[in-house]
Amino acid sequence: MKNLLTFNRKTVVNSIGLILFLILPFLTKSFEQEYLISFFSMILIYGLAAASLDLILGFGGMISLGHAVFMGIGGYSVGVLAFHKYESSSIFGFDGTENALITWGVAILIAGVFGLLTGAVSLRTKGMSFIMITLAFAQMGYYFFVSLSKYGGSDGLSLYNRNELLGLDLGDDVTFYYICLAILVLFLLIAHRVVNSHFGKVITASRQNEQRVQVLGVASYRYKLAIYTFAAAVAGLAGALMTNQNEFASPELMHWTKSGELMVMVLLGGMGTLFGPVLGAAILLLMEYFLAMYTEHWMVVLGPFLIIVVLFAKNGLYGLLVGSKDKNV
């Protein structure tokens, strides 16, 4: 009976969330606050990145403090290809392009490959070392782009306009918003299936007791590397969307504080819930937004708030909403 109730409550919460996101553009229009739609697109994009982090952090128990680097790589993939399009030049023999099917695909691919390579090294370690190594690799990416003066260095790289996708006008904020929403929903559906599969169970089991998983005969390292790579690729896509949203790619996108913020989003929303991190992204961005209206020093409030959340609120907001401590979605 209790199972049925929580199931219903979860479905209700998720449906309300989806409906809310679907009608947001209409709401902003009727309240004549259209400028807010970009802000909501940001929430969706950060939500996508945070939910991908949740796959490795919440389900796999891998505390990565460098997830933003994959966003940065995705973001620069779009930026660099557009740059070469404007210049009519080529990079490694490929012409520049603004076709989203190509640029977003490249973003996913490169972020995924970088995830595979750095993951292969990082996952050899555990605990504190893993945290510090993921952070160091992310910082490596950051400094790489900061010193890459051809593409703007620390000033970043501006786009003249957003990518083209199958004849749709991505320059229109509402269209772009719905595309972000569609991608987020699609990802959540895929991820939901993955975490409930045998593969997903191995990942979750590794978080609980990795040695035991290995004694059962599972090469847990490969599973963890696979999910790490997948999460990296998705974060790459989020970065590609971010560059389109801002029409700007900058090293700040992969600064380690961004990785930290993604982590905060996952924790605020609820770890191992997939939907929670989207909520967490909304909370954190809204908090920043409103605090910034009162004081430019909003971080002096956010910092202690974080500490309090860590010390006292363990299940995240999504956990409160769906009323369940059960971490399995």
Binding site: R193, N196, H198, F199, Q208, V215, G217, V218, N328
Partner: protein, 254 residues
């Protein structure tokens, strides 16, 4: 010779300056029930950890079915047919009983990474899980979280998970420890049922249970096997009696 399934040859293991296993030799015959006994701190659990691959020996070699597995990882050894039941129960407490068994079942089905089918609808996993739920007598408790089982039931589930990997040889680390008389009897019954259908290495502190179950008994003292023979012979062995009765204190601990 070909009848030996698991063999450890002159194994030495040191942690820093502490020798926990010295010149450890063990041969286990296929489909036998072999017991490894010894006083507390003799190094029995360390020996099992060495056989399972959780720790690597400083020197010596281990072979399984004639293949050298000394340098093989834990999961590869499991794939080669070695299963382990832990002394300290280590289940996946956030999973249900059935999910624990499905995890073990899936580990040994060569179907690649199944990342799309929902586990609860994965027939190949469910069938194996149900088979072993039945076998260890937990069918009434299948949807309970493993963390909420009683101590005895957790042991049963541990056994079930090891069996669900369909091993050739089962390493049991003090399965009776902490069980009441009822639980002990149940487990003995299960072990008897498995006897001669697969190889079992039973590590026990309590010699009483061992002498009635085992075909062969090895005695370990101070990280070394001092005698291997039938239970009857071991019972009357002078050195064994000395080891158990004479002041064997601490030394190497495991």
């Amino acid at each position: 010779m070909s009848n030996i399934i698991l063999q450890a040859k002159s194994i030495n293991k040191q942690f820093g300056a502490v020798k926990v296993c010295q010149n450890f030799n063990l041969e286990i015959e296929k489909n036998s029930l072999h017991a490894l006994i010894g006083p507390n701190g003799a190094g029995k659990t360390t020996a099992l950890n060495l056989l399972t691959g959780l720790i690597k020996p400083t020197s010596g070699s281990i072979s399984l079915n004639g293949n050298d597995i000394t340098k093989k990882s834990v999961n590869v050894r499991s794939q080669l047919g070695l299963a382990r039941v832990f002394q300290i129960t280590s289940l996946f407490n956030e999973f249900s009983v059935r999910e624990n068994l499905m995890l073990a079942a899936g580990a040994h089905q060569k179907t690649g990474y199944r990342f799309w089918t929902n586990v609860n609808r994965d027939k190949r996993l469910l069938e194996v899980a149900d088979e072993f739920l039945e076998k260890v007598g937990l069918n009434q408790r299948s949807s309970i979280l493993a963390g909420n089982l009683s101590h005895g039931e957790q042991r049963q589930l541990e056994m079930g998970m090891a069996l669900a990997t369909r091993p050739d040889i089962l390493l049991l680390d003090e399965p009776m420890a902490g069980l009441g008389p009822g639980g002990s009897a149940k487990l003995s019954e299960l072990i008897l049922e498995l006897k001669h259908k697969m190889t079992i290495l039973l590590v026990e502190h309590d010699t009483h249970a061992v002498f009635s179950l085992a075909d062969t008994v090895s005695v370990m003292v101070h990280g070394e096997v001092i005698a291997t023979n039938t239970p009857e012979v071991i019972k009357n062995n002078q050195r064994v009696q000395e080891a158990y009765l004479g002041g064997v204190s601490g030394g190497a601990e495991c």
